[in-house]
Symmetry: C2
Subunit: 185 residues, 2 copies
């Protein structure tokens, strides 16, 4: 069974995190929701507190098929500096494994040096990212093993692309129908 | 300050609940996330556990300006039978106060006898609702004091309509821009 890791750090954007987790869990993929600071409860940018499954401390790149970062500037700043998250991103990339990030979180990929040329992100965040291949026209951008997306309103489409990458088009279409997500490509 | 109550019962649909809470909290509206069974932690349909602010037990219709029900069949069945939720819905309606429900949750409004003629809901759920004014063409349907919506992918648009009802068009547009929710009307 494919395994996706979603690390939550204080200040994560809630619509993004939950849309990703919920959408992917509607397929057969196993989603691990991990706490970055080790506390079981993690508070999002709008005060919503989520209980995580485990701490990120003991998770290695060999345990997972993909790591996906939700946005929110507060959470992203932690993801961009936390040693465990940054080393996990580098290890995943070195092994050619899939990495995803939405909204502000592509910034944390750039800090790890794993962001490829083409990407998208929250419009204002592009100023903080040096890569020149920013694409404002697509909800989800794929470049090699890196998948990026714009923000809250594109999070379901982003989750569906993750299902497609790991399980294929048919699994994606089934989840898309259930979510009534006709507007995703 | 306007106050919105979002009751969570075990089996609630997570994208819907969190999209509603997050979207509304991006305005100046105060959102109370309340536990229906009194346990602080409530588990959603896809295993995501949310910490609630308080129990619904001591909340009265006078404390709130609107009650909004997330969907998910598990949660909806509880909302449709729980005495406190059902009496609160009836009291809100008798006072002409705003009521919202998405996905399966309009079923809980019908059980309370507060659903008006025009409504929308998750497509398969319309079979369980006797009112004849089902509208499959709109993401969000308004009839008198009752606002209904279709499902996960329409939840942000639904939240934005709630902001519009309580604070007006300008507040809605500001939140809509922040969410990148151009596809909402």
């Amino acid at each position: 069974m494919a395994v996706v890791l979603v690390p939550l750090a204080t200040g994560f954007e809630e619509i993004e995190a939950i849309s990703i987790i919920d959408t992917i869990r509607r397929s057969s993929i196993n989603v691990i929701v991990a706490s970055v600071d080790g506390n079981e409860d993690v508070r999002g940018a709008h005060g919503i507190i989520i209980k995580t499954d485990k701490s990120i401390k003991n998770i290695s790149a060999d345990d997972i098929d993909m790591i996906v970062l939700p946005g929110g500037w507060g959470g992203t700043k932690i993801l961009a500096t936390d040693e465990k998250v940054q080393s996990l991103l580098k290890e995943m990339d070195a092994k050619g494994k899939q990495i995803g990030a939405i909204c502000a979180a592509p910034y944390a990929l750039e800090k790890a040096g794993v962001l490829k040329e083409k990407f998208t992100c929250y419009p204002s965040v592009k100023e903080d990212i040096e890569n020149t291949g920013y694409d404002a026209t697509k909800k989800v951008v794929s470049d090699k093993n890196i998948l990026t997306s714009q923000g809250p309103a594109t999070a379901i489409c982003f989750g569906l692309e993750i299902v497609k990458i790991l399980l294929g088009e048919e699994a994606k279409e089934k989840v898309k129908t259930g979510l009534l997500a006709d507007s995703c490509e």
